[in-house]
Structure formats: structure tokens, C-alpha cells
């Protein structure tokens, strides 16, 4: 755990000075509270000796000083710790992004479905609590506790020792115990939660069919079983999780009692002024404020570390695809793109998706690649973009192996509109212009026209500035596809790859779109990947990929 924590702190890269400032302010806040109670205890005890009022002046000033300064310092403390958390969050995001950018998409395989990806984004977000809740509180407690123990020792070493032991038990042992109990409870609960979630997801997804087939009761019974086993486990764990705070109170009571006992004893023996008994007791009591957040911090820390471990697992991957040390100059159009006896498989996969595939695209060629799903059509695109290197054989551009070029020089030559293409939660204009930053309104309009969607876009109340929603959720399947095509056309690169551009369209619309795209891409090399017949009469050649030996299920 500490190794991971250290690496996470490195990843967060918070400025040391700010870290130290935040911890010092936190400790100071607690110490001012301790000072307030201790001074007040002294003041009242001293006053009971009925001295002249002026001899109380210092204590009175002290009480007022602590009373005023504690809220001020707490304010600064809160500001500095939140500032730190936000800095950490911004930096962690940027660093994680930089690390995974060269991994996409093939080394993020398995993260493709989105759930895993959104979980790891949530994990990154969780790291903002690293300082605020996980690392900060123990350091603050250590600093404030040490100072309080030091002051106590100056008056009565035995009381200092008792206080130190009490703080250690309440600040280290109790949180460790309650952290352990909470982890055990979470481990017990996790499978039951997982099962219940799975049952719910399935039941909700199958809702229409369960109703139509009259199978609701059986499904509900399954959910009830999963639910009641989760509730049983959770209720059993409830007692263990809250134990920490209760134990802390116990330790506080025993410690304050102990401090009182030695102080009274020392006072009777003449080693301690009797006015200092109340001061030491109240000082001890107030110091326990420092260890109060530590049980929660221990739980928080294990959550942060677990999240961090998943993030590190991702950022530790070394990119397989690298630029060469001395790259060849970028290819000059016109050029030929070719796959030469290529075998390919994805990282962490034991099975070849392509076996001995060859394909040659001369400048200006129009080629259709057909084949059943799972035959590896999309893998051909990944190879051409150098998102994946072949196991055997080679992919060439202008006669040179792709690995000799800089990756950017390769990708600059190819634009893709396909199944794997992504619509960002932004406006239509932003999504299209992504292909060519700085493209003017006219260029965007022309691309949308050529993708046969301008009329629809123009009719929208906000036109090209309409937002498309998360993953283009506000659009229909056909609209999404046409916007992706518009983006690829705007990129205006020598090679155009269309991966299943018409799968959501009815035959007439598909036909029209293909006509337009082919007319618009005159002179470009076009690779059309499809399992449908529209557009096949517009290409020069049709190449079929056969399914690999084992059918790949969707």
C-alpha cells in the first residue's frame, strides 16, 4: 500500500511547499483550539485562587487571542487544502491523459465498451482526495499531537507520556482496526452487490420481453433473492464499520482520566502547581480533535489507493507503437498503400484476427472490403492507421514499411469515417471541424452538403451549432453516420476509409449517400468496408475477407 501511495503522490505531483503549508495550517488550527481550552482552564483555576485581577490579564488576553485566531486560521486552512486538491486533480488528469494517449485504441482494448473507461475516469477523479482526505489528516494529527505532547511534557512528563500513548492508540491502532473491518465488510459485500447489479441490469434490459412472455414473476424472484442476501450481509457489517468512533471515545476517556490521575498525584507531591491540573486535562481532551478524522481517513485512503492502483495499471503500460529513431520523410502523394501477407492480433489476445491477408490500393483505387462480422475488417483500418503492428508481414505506404515513418505522417494521409469513430459531446460544427482545425464555415457547410445532411442541419433551430449530446445521443443512427462522413470528407486526405457507413440507413438512403461520397472523393483512394450491397457497383474491385477459423461473436 505505501509503495502505491508513494507512486500516486508522484503522479499527483503537488508542489511540496503547498503540501507543507496545508498540513501546517491544519495542525495550527487544532493547536489554537487546544490553546483556547488549556488557557481557559488555567484562567479559571488561577482565578479560583482569587488573585488581583491584573495578574489574570495574560491568561485573558490568551483566551481572546486563541478564540479569534482559530477561525481565521481554519479559513486559510480550508482554502489551501481545497486549492491543493484542485491542483492535484488538474495535474493528474493531464498526466494520465498523456500516458494513455499513445495506448489508444488497441492497448486500451477491453476498455472499449465504455464502462471500464468511465470507471477509470472516476478513479482519476477520486485521486483529488489523495491529500485532502487520505494523506493530510494523519500528517496534521502527527504534527498537532507531537506539539501538544511536547507542551504537556514541559509541565509533567508522565502526563505527556500518557497523552502520547492515548493519541497513538486512537490515531493509529483504532483507524487501522476500523479500516480493516471496513475492508473486510466491503469484500463480503462486493460479490452480493455485483450479483444484484447484474440481476437488475438484466431484468431492466429484458423488461419488454419478460412482460411479453409473462416471465416477470420468475425474474422478480431472482432479484428478491439477490436483494435479501445483500441486505443480510450489509446489516451484519453495519456494527463493524462504525466501531472506530466509539473506540476513540473510550480511549479519550481513559487518557483524560490517566492525565488527571498523574496530575493530581504530582500536585499533591508538589511537583505541579494545582492551577495546572485543569489546564493539562483540558489540553488532553482538546487534542483528541486531531485524531477524530483518522478512522474515516483510513477508509478513504484504502478507497483512494484501490482507485489509484487501477489508474497505475493503465498508465504503466508502455506504448507498443513507437516512432522510429530516424524517421523516413513523409510519403508524397500519389502513393500505394499495401498490406503484404499480414498476420495480426490484438495485445492480450491469443488469437489472430487476420491470417495472411494482402491488399493493394493504388492511387485513386476504389476498393470494397466485404466479409462477415468478426472477419477483421476493422483491423485492416487499425493496421493502416498504425494503431496496430502486424505479427508477421508488413503494411507499406509508398513502398516503405509504416514503421519507418513517424506515426503522424502516416495518419495525416488517411481519413476514416467508421464504426469506431466517435462523436464528442459538442456542437455539429466542432465535431466536423475536428478533422481540420481552423476550417471555415464554408468548408464545414460543403462537407455537410456532400454527406447529404446539410438540409437537415440547416433546418435545426441552432443549425451547425446544435449540440449532439453525449456520444451523439441526440442524433439518429443515420444522422451520426453522415456527420462522421462529413468529418472524413472535410479532412480531405489522399486516402479515405469508410467503415460500414450505411449500416443504419435504409436501402435508398444508403444508395444516395454512396453515390455522393464517391462523387465527392474523385481522385482519392477509397476503401469501403461493408457487409451490404449498396455501393459495390461503384468500386473498381471487391475484396472478400473470410471469417477466421473460430467465429468471433459480437
Amino acid at each position: 500500500m505505501t509503495g502505491t501511495l508513494r507512486r500516486l503522490l508522484g503522479l499527483a505531483g503537488a508542489p511540496r511547499g503547498r503540501e507543507a503549508l496545508s498540513v501546517s495550517l491544519g495542525a495550527l488550527t487544532i493547536l489554537l483550539g487546544v490553546g483556547l481550552m488549556a488557557t481557559a482552564g488555567y484562567l479559571i483555576s488561577r482565578a479560583a485562587e482569587r488573585p488581583a485581577i491584573f495578574s489574570l490579564t495574560i491568561a485573558i488576553v490568551g483566551v481572546r487571542f486563541f478564540g479569534v485566531s482559530k477561525p481565521v486560521v481554519r479559513y486559510l486552512d480550508k482554502l489551501s487544502s481545497h486549492d491543493l486538491a484542485l491542483r492535484v486533480l488538474a495535474r493528474v488528469r493531464a498526466r494520465v491523459y498523456d500516458r494513455i494517449e499513445p495506448l489508444a485504441p488497441t492497448q486500451l482494448h477491453g476498455y472499449r465498451d465504455g464502462d471500464l473507461l468511465s470507471r477509470s475516469v472516476a478513479d482519476v477523479d477520486a485521486l483529488q482526495n489523495l491529500h485532502l482526505r487520505a494523506v493530510g489528516p494523519p500528517l496534521v494529527a502527527l504534527l498537532a499531537g507531537a506539539a501538544a505532547v511536547g507542551v504537556t511534557c514541559a509541565f509533567l512528563p508522565a502526563a505527556g507520556v500518557i497523552l502520547a500513548v492515548g493519541l497513538l492508540v486512537a490515531g493509529a491502532l483504532v483507524p487501522a482496526l476500523s479500516g480493516r473491518l471496513a475492508r473486510a465488510a466491503a469484500l463480503r459485500e462486493a460479490p452480493a452487490r455485483g450479483l444484484l447489479s447484474a440481476e437488475l441490469v438484466e431484468l431492466l434490459a429484458a423488461g419488454p420481453e419478460l412482460a411479453a412472455f409473462g416471465a416477470e414473476h420468475a425474474a422478480l424472484a431472482r432479484v428478491r433473492t439477490a436483494d435479501s442476501s445483500l441486505v443480510t450481509i450489509a446489516r451484519r457489517s453495519a456494527a463493524a464499520i462504525g466501531l472506530g468512533d466509539g473506540l476513540r471515545m473510550l480511549v479519550t476517556g481513559v487518557t483524560v482520566g490517566g492525565v488527571l490521575a498523574v496530575a493530581i498525584d504530582a500536585s499533591a507531591a508538589g511537583h505541579l502547581n494545582r492551577v495546572e491540573i485543569a489546564m493539562l486535562a483540558l489540553l488532553a481532551l482538546a487534542t483528541f480533535e486531531a485524531v477524530a478524522p483518522l478512522s474515516a481517513a483510513a477508509r478513504e485512503r484504502s478507497a483512494v489507493v484501490a482507485a489509484g492502483r487501477r489508474v497505475l495499471e493503465l498508465t504503466d503500460r508502455d506504448p507498443v507503437i513507437q516512432d522510429p529513431a530516424t524517421p523516413a520523410p513523409g510519403p508524397e502523394w500519389p502513393f500505394t498503400v499495401a498490406l503484404e501477407h499480414v498476420w495480426a492480433r490484438y495485445p492480450l489476445d491469443s488469437r489472430d484476427v487476420l491470417e495472411d491477408v494482402s491488399l493493394r490500393l493504388e492511387p485513386g483505387d476504389r476498393v470494397a472490403l466485404v466479409g462477415p462480422s468478426g472477419a477483421g475488417k476493422t483491423t485492416v483500418v487499425n493496421l493502416m492507421l498504425r494503431f496496430l503492428d502486424p505479427e508477421r508481414g508488413r503494411v507499406t505506404l509508398a513502398g516503405r514499411d509504416l514503421v519507418e515513418y513517424r506515426q503522424d505522417d502516416v495518419r495525416k494521409m488517411i481519413s476514416v469515417a467508421g464504426q469506431e469513430s466517435y462523436l464528442f459531446s459538442a456542437t455539429i460544427r466542432q465535431n466536423v471541424a475536428l478533422a481540420r482545425p481552423g476550417a471555415g464555415d464554408e468548408a464545414v457547410e460543403r462537407a455537410l452538403r456532400r454527406a447529404r445532411i446539410w438540409d437537415w442541419v440547416e433546418g435545426l433551430p441552432e443549425g451547425v451549432d446544435t449540440r449532439v449530446g453525449e456520444r451523439g445521443r441526440e442524433l439518429s443512427g443515420g444522422q451520426r453516420q453522415r456527420i462522421l462522413v462529413a468529418r472524413a470528407l472535410l479532412a480531405d486526405r489522399p486516402v479515405l476509409v469508410l467503415d460500414e457507413p450505411t449500416s443504419h440507413l435504409d436501402p435508398d438512403a444508403a444508395r444516395d449517400l454512396m453515390d455522393d461520397v464517391f462523387a465527392a472523393s474523385e481522385g482519392q483512394t477509397v476503401l469501403l468496408i461493408t457487409h451490404r450491397s449498396e455501393g459495390l457497383d461503384l468500386v473498381d474491385r471487391v475484396v472478400a475477407l473470410e471469417a477466421p477459423r473460430v467465429p468471433a461473436p459480437l
Binding site: A47, A205, V223
Partner: protein, 559 residues
């Protein structure tokens, strides 16, 4: 910041006992605070006046005991809260699932069901914060300050007066600040959320960004956006934390005021030491629960948000009325008519069906064609009574199906959706969906054979006993479609609804599925939804839904 949503009390059984427990434990805690302070003050005062340690052991032991019991009470409140949280959420989610399946089975898309599941399972964490931390704090904040002030007044009325004068300031401040910061907090929270979803969006779209050579430029912008957000947020925080500090200042100044006045009166001999110490020790306890309550603001907001979400889902109007109980005539003998049926999806401006007229005669196959979005699948859902029409009616043999028993009517229909859902279980169990438990294995095999599924099922590792569905062996689109067809064969219903049975299949699979569909057509009334031509030719009639929205009325063409 409401203390407790009354709907939680009204609609769940687990909350009332929790409130009773919390109240009893809260009052006991408040009393212990008084005992603890009094004991501590008494020990110090007696020692001050020369009582030897040997005569104070009992008091010291009692003091430690008071702390221990106070800890145990807090623990009890937390345990009760956690247990209640898990029971409350269980009650809510079972009610929700039950209601969804009964009244609104068709309304979910994938994203929403993921969200519901998250709220219904992970929501317990937020509810635990609410019930185990926030609610006990509400009880303590309303009990402890009053009891403490009352006791202080008994011990020393002048200190009691100081507290009484400063105490009301605290809730007033809290209320004012709460109103101010709640708004700010929510704004900040929203901004944080949108920052997080922006990051997620970028990471998801990384392959596209890389393909267009934009990934590094976007990455560079990321830290700048985070910095800009930090600066803006710190601006707001400077103001909203300020108000929290004013509140704390009031509390610490009150303690200082009590201490100084008590000190002066002690020095003048107007106050005994034990009273002065008691008052001093109790002074912070007056304000502490109120401030702790403010610190639990997020627990409260997060917990209430979960409850709110669940109630919103529970209170959504039902999509299907369940009034009728008439026996339904069989579509094998009687025609089905859609009479001026209109339907609009909630939140969409235009109706998807507008006064639609359609007739299905016994034994005929009607192909329903039209663009995507024209309402073909909606017609299937209306026939299945997964939805009810907004206007018009559907009759069979002249009887409105809305007046028929829901289960009895659905038993007349076999439905093969476009993407049949596989449930976690064996192939056998999946085909036997909705069939009585007594269904013979041979009948299942026969249905599979007719659906053209027998061959591939036998090729699976455990044949019909193979586990499929989530976590089981994956099936291809064509294989799933055939499981769906096997369900329909086994159900052997007089009306069959087929939704795009060959869409997205490769040519070999299209062949198998088409021939199974032709077998299924024999002797049954069939509604065939398609936009591909392969199957349409086997239909007796072709009906075109025109133009997405049927207006002014749907065109019905005979082929």
C-alpha cells in the same frame, strides 16, 4: 437542507424505528455530555481543594465510563443508520422494479437502466451517509444545545444567559449561510461534474483524436482548463468559506466570553470553582453539534438526491393501464384492428403514430415497412400492451384489448424482437422463457429445430445446458435471433410479431432465419416488421408507414 424527506417516513417501513432509536440515543447522549462535564469539573475542583488521589479513583473510573457509554451511544446511532439505509434502499428498489415490470416495461433504454441500477445498488453509500451520519447529527443538534444551556443555567445562570444570547445567532447564521452556500455549492458541483464528463468524453474519443492528429493539442488544453477552473472555484470558495468562518468565530468568541466572565467572577469570589469549570467544559458542546451538522451538508444532499431519484422513478405515470379482465378472443379466429390509434413518446413533440388504421385478418401475414422511426416497433409494443395508445383503440373480435386481462392477452402473442435478450442461464432456460416449469425437454428441442438453432446449440460445449447471457458463452447476432425464434415456436401462439428478423445478419444467417420464419408463418397471424426485402415477398400484404410521422393519416397500400 431539509432534515428528513417526509416521503421516506411515509413510504418505507424501516425509517420510523430508526427515528425512535436515534431520538432515544440522542437524548441519552446529551445527558451523558452533562454527566461527563460535571464529573470532570468535580474531580479537578476537589483535587484543587486538596482531596488526595486515593479518594478520587471512583470519580475517575466513572469519568472513563461516561466517555465509553457516550462512544457506545454514537456507535449505536451509526449502526442503526447503516442498517436502516440498506433496508430502506432495498424496499425502494424492490418497489421500483416491481412497478417498472408491471406498469412500464417498455420505457427503458440502456443508458437509463444503467443509471437506475447505479442508484438502486450503489445509492446505499449515499444513504448510509445520510442515515448514519447526517440524521443522528440532526437529532443531536436539536437536543444537545438545549439541554446543555438548561443545565448551565442551573449551575450558573449568568453563563447560561451568555449562551442563550449567542446560541440563536448560530442557527440564524446557519440558515442564512446555508441558503447562500447551497446555491454556490451546487454550481461548483455542477462545474466539477461537467469537467469530469469532458475528460471522459476526450478519453473515449481518443482513437478519433489520434486518427485526426488532434490528441496532443487536446491534451495540452486539458491542464489549462483545469487551471482555469481552479482559479474560478477558489474565487467562489474565498467567499463561501468566509461565511463559515464567521460562524465559527461566533462559537469560539462565545467560549472565550464565558471563560473570561467566569474567571473574573471567580476572582471576585462570586462563583465556585466547580461551577466555573463545568460551564467552561460545556461551552464548546453547545456549538459543536450545530457546526458538525453543517459539515455533513454533502451527506445530506447526496442521500436526498438518491431518495429523490428513486421517488421520481416510482411516481412516473404508468404506461399501461391494468383495468380489464375480460377474456380475450383468439387472433386465430378473430381479426385484430387498430382503430384511429395515436401515440407520442413523452418528450417528443410529434406523435409517432397519428390516427393509424390497420387490420390483421386471422392467418394472414402482413409486412410492415417504412423508414426507421416511422413507428413500426411502436405498433408491436402497442399490440403487446407494453404501451397503451394515447388515443384510439386496438380490438380483437370487437373487444378492446385494454379491457382484456393483461396476462391472458399477452399469452396469445409470440414476439421476436430485433435483438432478443439473453438471460443469464442455460440455453434450455432461455428458450423456455415464460413457459410453465413442466415444459418437456423434447418440446424445447423441437422448437430449436424449427428455428434452425438445433445444429449450433449442439455444437456448444454443453449443448442445451450451456450457460449463455451475461458472463456466459457469447452468441453471435444470428444465433441470438434463432434463440428468439425458438422461443416463439415453443410459445405456439396464434399471433406472431417479428421485428426485423434478418437485419444486420450475414447472407448465410439470413438464409437460415428466413426459412425458419416461413415455417413459423404457417397457420398463424403474423405481423412482420422489415425494411429489407428478403422476407417481404412471403407476406400476403405489404403496409407502408409513410414518412416517419403518419399525417394526416397513414397510407395503407395493398401489394
Amino acid at each position: 437542507m431539509r432534515a428528513l424527506d417526509p416521503r421516506l417516513v411515509r413510504r418505507t417501513r424501516s425509517v420510523r424505528p430508526l427515528l425512535a432509536t436515534d431520538t432515544v440515543l440522542g437524548i441519552a447522549t446529551a445527558l451523558l455530555v452533562l454527566v461527563q462535564a460535571t464529573l470532570l469539573a468535580r474531580i479537578v475542583a476537589r483535587a484543587f481543594h486538596g482531596t488526595p488521589i486515593s479518594r478520587l479513583w471512583l470519580d475517575l473510573a466513572l469519568l472513563a465510563l461516561a466517555f465509553t457509554i457516550r462512544g457506545a451511544l454514537g456507535w449505536g446511532m451509526e449502526v442503526a443508520g447503516r442498517r436502516a439505509a440498506s433496508s430502506v434502499l432495498s424496499e425502494l428498489r424492490l418497489a421500483l422494479i416491481d412497478r417498472r415490470l408491471r406498469d412500464d416495461p417498455a420505457s427503458l433504454d440502456g443508458a437509463e437502466s444503467g443509471e437506475i441500477t447505479a442508484a438502486a445498488v450503489q445509492g446505499v453509500d449515499a444513504l448510509e451517509g445520510y442515515f448514519a451520519r447526517y440524521l443522528p447529527q440532526v437529532v443531536l443538534a436539536s437536543v444537545v444545545p438545549l439541554l446543555v444551556v438548561a443545565w448551565v443555567t442551573v449551575v450558573d445562570w449568568e453563563s447560561g444567559l451568555i449562551m442563550l444570547l449567542t446560541l440563536p445567532l448560530v442557527p440564524i447564521f446557519m440558515w442564512l449561510i446555508g441558503r447562500y452556500t447551497e446555491h454556490r455549492t451546487r454550481e461548483r458541483w455542477d462545474a466539477l461534474q461537467s469537467l469530469s464528463s469532458h475528460f471522459l468524453d476526450m478519453v473515449r474519443g481518443l482513437p478519433t483524436l489520434r486518427a485526426f492528429g488532434q490528441s496532443r493539442a487536446q491534451g495540452a488544453a486539458l491542464e489549462a482548463i483545469g487551471e482555469r477552473y481552479r482559479r474560478a472555484t477558489m474565487g467562489t470558495l474565498r467567499v463561501s468559506f468566509l461565511s463559515g468562518s464567521v460562524l465559527e468565530l461566533a462559537a469560539t468568541l462565545a467560549v472565550a466570553l464565558v471563560a473570561v466572565t467566569a474567571g473574573v467572577r471567580l476572582a471576585e469570589g462570586d462563583l465556585p470553582l466547580q461551577a466555573g469549570l463545568t460551564v467552561l467544559i460545556l461551552a464548546p458542546e453547545v456549538y459543536l453539534p450545530l457546526r458538525a451538522l453543517g459539515a455533513e451538508y454533502h451527506s445530506s444532499a447526496d442521500g436526498l438526491a438518491v431518495a429523490e431519484r428513486m421517488f421520481a422513478l416510482l411516481d412516473a405515470p404508468p404506461a399501461v393501464r391494468r383495468a380489464g379482465s375480460l377474456p380475450a378472443p383468439s387472433p386465430a379466429a378473430e381479426p385484430i384492428r387498430l382503430e384511429r390509434v395515436s401515440f407520442a413518446y413523452p418528450g417528443r413533440p410529434r406523435p409517432v403514430l397519428d390516427r393509424l388504421e390497420l387490420e390483421l385478418l386471422p392467418g394472414e401475414t402482413v409486412a410492415l415497412v417504412g423508414d426507421s422511426g416511422a413507428g413500426k416497433s411502436t405498433i408491436a409494443a402497442l399490440l403487446l400492451r407494453l404501451l397503451d395508445p394515447d388515443d384510439g383503440r386496438i380490438t380483437v373480435g370487437g373487444v378492446d384489448i385494454a379491457n382484456c386481462g393483461l396476462a391472458a392477452w399477452r399469452r396469445m402473442i409470440a414476439w421476436v424482437p430485433q435483438h432478443p435478450t439473453l438471460l443469464r442461464g442455460t440455453v434450455d432456460e432461455n428458450i423456455a422463457l415464460g413457459a410453465p416449469d413442466s415444459v418437456a425437454a423434447e418440446a424445447i428441442r423441437e422448437a430449436a429445430r424449427l428455428a434452425g438453432a438445433d445444429a449450433f446449440i449442439r455444437g456448444l460445449p454443453d449443448g442445451y445446458g450451456t450457460t449463455i447471457g451475461d458472463g456466459g458463452r457469447p452468441l453471435s447476432g444470428g444465433e441470438r435471433r434463432r434463440i428468439g425464434l425458438a422461443r416463439a415456436f415453443l410459445r405456439d401462439a396464434p399471433l406472431v410479431i417479428l421485428d426485423e428478423p434478418t437485419a444486420d445478419l450475414d447472407p448465410a444467417a439470413v438464409e437460415v432465419v428466413s426459412s425458419a420464419v416461413r415455417t413459423l408463418q404457417r397457420g398463424r397471424t403474423v405481423l412482420l416488421i422489415a425494411h429489407r426485402p428478403e422476407l417481404v415477398e412471403s407476406a400476403d400484404r405489404v403496409v407502408t408507414l409513410a414518412g416517419g410521422v403518419a399525417w394526416p393519416r397513414v397510407l395503407v397500400e395493398a401489394a
